[in-house]
């Protein structure tokens, strides 16, 4: 509908379109803005819905984080309550649940991070060893299919299979119910995470492996390398840079144990091991309506995550030269 709008101002400006862009004419800022908008208003229009979406649904809540430092007052809205400083953070540290929640969060997420990092790596090295391209692609497809199972279905499958005495796994454990066992919670969590996501997460490594130069394998074989040595000295170095970046990224979510799965796996028997920061925030914030306190806990969580990301990035830069920023 606006097909003819654009070329006109451009011809008027007298410059040929792209190659001339670096050598912008020096104009007064007002004129430059007008010039820019004349040329790019359609791009701004295309960005508008996306910018509006993040402005409203990401930046407004970010602004609302100051609730963590204020007494929530329903009549004054998100930012009108009385300023109380770090009061709610102190309350969290003194909370009798504090140590346990923190320990649970770190335990579950560290297991998941470490195992969730190693498993796709090993799986990729393994799948890469399959000689027949057809078998390889079938195996790959099968291993990443569970990625699309919903959390609700996943947790109910876990419950069914762990059911004492009748489930596939439950039969092996005899009468004991793993879902009700606080000691088993983290294990059940990370094993099922790997079952569901390792195949998907190894796709990126397989892509890196498929680009390895065949000459490297030939050279290594001429030097007398066996299969295992090829994996160790050719395949592994090929995927380590990718792995490094992914590791840094996941370190940024050390306290970021997903809410949904833990919440759905929780029951009264395992609650001592399964209450984590995100579920606690939901419980006291949404269910208990302690808005300020709950916001403070959420903010505490974000800050710790960010510190871990910074630390992991710094360590990675010093040790391997790869880093995000």
């Amino acid at each position: 509908m606006t097909l003819t709008d654009h070329p006109r101002p451009r011809q008027g400006s007298g410059t040929s379109p792209r190659p001339a862009a670096p050598a912008r004419p020096r104009l007064a800022s007002g004129a430059r803005l007008r010039h820019h908008l004349q040329r790019y208003w359609q791009l701004w229009l295309m960005l508008l819905p996306a910018l509006a979406a993040v402005a409203v649904f990401s930046y407004v809540p970010l602004y609302g984080v100051q609730l963590a430092f204020r007494e929530y007052d329903i009549t004054k809205g998100l930012t009108g309550g009385e300023f109380v400083g770090l009061e709610y953070f102190r309350q969290f540290v003194r909370d009798p649940m504090f140590t346990r929640i923190l320990a649970n969060t770190v335990r579950i997420s560290l297991w998941t991070l470490v195992m969730g990092f190693i498993a796709p790596l090993l799986l990729a090295l393994l799948i890469n060893q399959i000689a027949s391209p057809r078998v390889k692609s079938v195996v790959q497809t099968i291993t990443y299919t569970p990625h699309f199972i919903s959390t609700v279905v996943m947790v109910s499958m876990i419950t069914i299979f762990l059911a004492p005495g009748t489930g596939l796994v439950g039969k092996l454990t005899g009468g004991s119910n793993l879902m009700g066992d606080p000691d088993a919670f983290a294990t059940v969590y990370w094993v099922s995470e790997i079952w569901q996501h390792a195949g998907w997460n190894c796709i990126i490594y397989l892509a890196a492996l498929s680009s390895v130069d065949m000459a490297l394998y030939e050279a290594a074989k001429l030097d007398g390398a066996g299969r295992l040595q090829l994996i160790r000295y050719v395949d592994l170095p090929a995927i380590l840079p990718t792995a490094g970046v992914l590791l840094i990224l996941t370190m940024g979510s050390v306290l970021g144990v997903g809410f949904e799965k833990v919440w759905l796996m929780q029951n009264t028997l395992n609650i001592t091991a399964s209450e984590v920061i995100s579920t606690y925030t939901y419980r006291i914030g949404i269910l208990g309506s302690q808005f300020s306190y709950s916001t403070a806990i959420g903010l505490f969580n974000s800050v710790v995550n960010f510190l871990f990301l910074i630390a992991a990035n710094a360590i990675a830069r010093r040790t391997s030269g790869t880093s995000l920023f």
Binding site: L3, M46, V54, G64, A131, W195
Partner: protein, 313 residues
């Protein structure tokens, strides 16, 4: 070892086809091969069997399932579980809602994501770096649960269909994938040609870029669609009306809170429990079926998205 061995080297470099990736097997590596084969088979079984078990259990006599007599094939075939499921109005309402939210939501997602990704892919558009930072910032920092909840509440979106559609309208990661695609897969010569023809950015995007972007529309659209289909969080936090609950929240009630409508008083407690279990197997199948049906056709796109996203990181 010191012999130059001229024959194999040119042979391999001259044939850079997929076939040539097969290396000649040394006898000493046979054992390694065998071990790898066994491990791969075990992994595949560990993934396939639980899914297969759910399928056969949903068709089998619940009493046989409970006593562990159903292992490889369905036994005492019955459709009782499915009859019960199809008679449960909650499932239908959940299904209807989820289809509505997924289709409408994905449409909005694409309308918001693709144009923005295109704008950010234009190298001559100087502000794109700053704008990109504004977007990327939200990937790492968020206000958290409570400020978001209070915002949604103030906007009057609690207990409405909009809460499923608008707050997640843009996924920054998906936008980056689409941007990488526009940058790498659409030749710049097309833009030059379009300019000669007098096409504006909008015209170029709609008439030239979109028709060439089937793959990325499929990838991003599928990511969004699966996200909507599997979304449980939104229904839990923001919606209380039963009429508006999507499938996943209905599933949670049936599967995990054990609220199956087994009803009939004549049943013994253990029969009722077995029957409830059969309904669970069936519900898992019924709810995952749509994704399983489209999956074989589209699975190559899923993986493709990972690759495109990985280019840019």
């Amino acid at each position: 070892m010191t012999n130059p061995a001229p024959v194999p080297v040119p042979k391999y470099t001259a044939l850079p086809r997929a076939r040539s990736r097969r290396l000649r097997r040394e006898p000493a590596d046979r054992l390694v091969d065998a071990v790898i084969g066994v491990i791969v088979v075990l992994i595949v079984l560990a993934i396939v069997y639980p899914v297969w078990f759910i399928v056969i259990a949903s068709f089998s006599d619940p009493a046989l399932v409970a006593t562990g007599k159903v292992t490889l094939f369905p036994r005492g075939i019955t459709l009782g579980g499915y009859e019960k499921i199809l008679a449960d109005s909650r499932i239908w309402i959940g299904y209807r809602n989820t289809i509505l939210y997924s289709v409408l939501g994905t449409a909005v997602n694409l309308l918001v994501t693709l144009p923005a990704a295109f704008a950010l892919s234009r190298p001559e558009f100087r502000p794109r770096r700053v704008v990109m930072i504004v977007f990327a910032f939200t990937m790492f920092f968020s206000g958290g649960l409570i400020p978001s909840y209070l915002l949604i509440k103030q906007l009057g979106m609690l207990d409405s269909i909009w809460v499923f559609i608008l707050p997640g309208a843009l996924n920054v990661f998906n936008m980056i994938i689409a941007r990488s695609f526009f940058e790498s897969a659409i030749p710049e010569e097309l833009r030059d040609a379009a300019q000669v023809d007098g096409l504006s950015y909008l015209g170029y995007f709609v008439r030239v870029v979109l028709p060439l972007s089937g793959a990325i529309i499929a990838v991003v659209g599928l990511y969004y669609f699966v996200g909507h289909w599997n979304d449980y969080f939104t229904g839990l936090i923001y919606v209380h009306s039963q009429e508006l609950q999507p499938l996943q929240n209905v599933l949670q009630m049936i599967l995990l809170a054990n609220q199956t409508q087994t009803g009939s008083a004549a049943m013994s407690a253990s029969d009722a429990q077995n029957f409830a279990d059969q309904i669970k197997f069936g519900v898992i199948i019924v709810s995952t079926l749509p994704l399983l049906v489209i999956y074989p056709f589209l699975q190559r796109y899923f993986a493709k998205g990972v690759m495109i996203g990985a280019v840019k990181g």
